[in-house]
Amino acid sequence: MKIVLNETNKALVNKVIEYGGKRVYECFQCGMCASGCPVASDTDHKIKRTMHQVLLGLDEQILDKKAIWLCTTCFMCLERCPQNAGPTDVVFALRRISAENGIIPEAQIEVANNIYHLGHAVTVQKGITLRAKVKAPPLTTAGSDKKYILEIQKVVDSTHAGKLLKIKKDWKPKGDDVIACD
């Protein structure tokens, strides 16, 4: 494939910088990021390649695929990068750009709706049953009282996150499984 570097494909790298991947230009493709990546060998998420694609402006190759959502956010690449180019920061920036384009995986939508409606990333009722079983004291966190959940909703409604994470007003949790928590 022929790649022409011009102002058009600089749009992606500029946006990545704006959205938190401030040091992406420092990458010199040494591959240290991929060497410690826990998902590189089992998924399409190839962090070294992603860094290069950002610099080349290949937004379709990155944003149309869901590979950036397969990062476990373990920060090993960021920790070990000799250039301090912040590969994890670049992944976060790409996720933010991707979400603006309406691309967001189901697990993220599910967790965000849980937090918005229940105050927690997981369902509350099952937790209350388990607490009784082990004689834990009554729950006092956000999930214990609607007034705290309304606070969280006001905070989220003051940002764009509700729209980006497809938060629905008439939402019902899918189940009691723990989907994502960090």
Partner: protein, 297 residues
């Protein structure tokens, strides 16, 4: 001299999926001189996988709301989950040092009658146990010694990285959780790739159940290399991944059944606390370990 009182930030998984871990924290810490107090109304931290992944300010504002609850209690915040620690500490640092972000967040918090002031510190339970309390005190407080037991220590990513923000440990050669495990009389064994991810974070467990198990299986094969009696962690999401993930692998016909403990569960058992309250919820059986090393049925 460090504080002996902490605002206990329990997060989501501990209070709602493993409340026995919560009991183990509530019951062991005061016996070591560290009193913990409820953060009433605290919500999700929130995690990096969702809110932080779409908009920084939405993650920051929710974290700041939680931190403001500890501030109103005038106590440092103790996180008992790696994810909570990472994002709350990161937010606290960002907000303390960036006036513009602090003002934006406070404009939002003002609507719910709260304010971020930047008056407290965020600590991980491992820091409180190791740096503030110390292993000598733990040795004195634990009557039952786990001599002969071998533990595979799993730190988890968000206790260590990004280290320039978290500053909790040496990111390539951490030692605090090992020292805490050894204070109980156990041997912390070497295994390859000890610092690698359990495979749960960032939305992976929800979005891609097959890959999450693949990463976990690699981790477990490395752990099996040293044939430990148990896995010890101080993160409930890693705990959940080891506990439910091993069950997932067993359901596929694989042989993974290593008992998993949150650190304070072993600490509590070594203090003589009853397992029904502090270590009774798990899919991967632990009764064999408890009977062998504590003599409790």
């Amino acid at each position: 001299m460090h504080a002996t009182e902490y605002a206990l930030y329990t997060g989501c998984i501990i209070p709602l999926r493993y409340p026995d871990i919560e009991n183990s924290i509530r019951e062991t810490m005061p016996l070591l001189g560290a009193n913990v107090y409820d953060m009433i109304g605290a919500g999700c931290c929130p995690p990096g996988g969702a809110f932080w992944s779409v908009e920084e300010i939405s993650g920051l504002a929710q974290s700041a709301r939680n931190i403001s609850i500890a501030e109103s209690m005038n106590k440092d915040l103790m996180a008992v989950c790696n994810g909570c620690f990472c994002y709350l500490k990161n937010s606290n640092l960002l907000l303390k040092n960036d006036q513009e972000k602090r003002e934006r967040v406070n404009t939002i918090l003002n609507k719910v009658g709260r304010k971020y002031q930047g008056t407290i510190s965020v600590y991980h339970l491992v820091e409180v146990l190791h740096d503030h309390i110390g292993t000598e005190k733990i040795k004195e407080a634990t009557k039952i010694k786990l001599d002969g037991a071998k533990a595979a220590v799993h730190y988890g990513c968000h206790l260590l990285r990004p280290s320039d923000h978290l500053m909790a440990e040496n990111p390539e050669k951490p030692h605090k959780l090992d020292a805490l495990v050894e204070a109980l009389g156990m041997e912390s064994v070497y295994y390859p790739k000890k610092l690698s991810c359990c495979g749960a974070g960032g939305g992976m467990r929800g979005n891609n159940p097959d890959v999450t198990l693949k990463i976990l299986e690699k981790k477990l094969l490395n752990i099996k290399y040293s044939d430990p009696d148990c896995i010890v962690t101080a993160c409930p999401f890693c705990f959940l991944q080891f506990d439910l993930g091993q069950k997932g692998l067993r359901d596929k016909g694989e042989d993974f059944c290593i008992p998993v403990f949150y650190y304070n569960q072993l600490l509590g058992l070594s203090m003589g606390l009853p397992k029904e309250r502090i270590a009774s919820l798990s899919e991967t059986p632990r009764d064999g370990f408890i009977k062998k090393f504590y003599g409790v049925d």
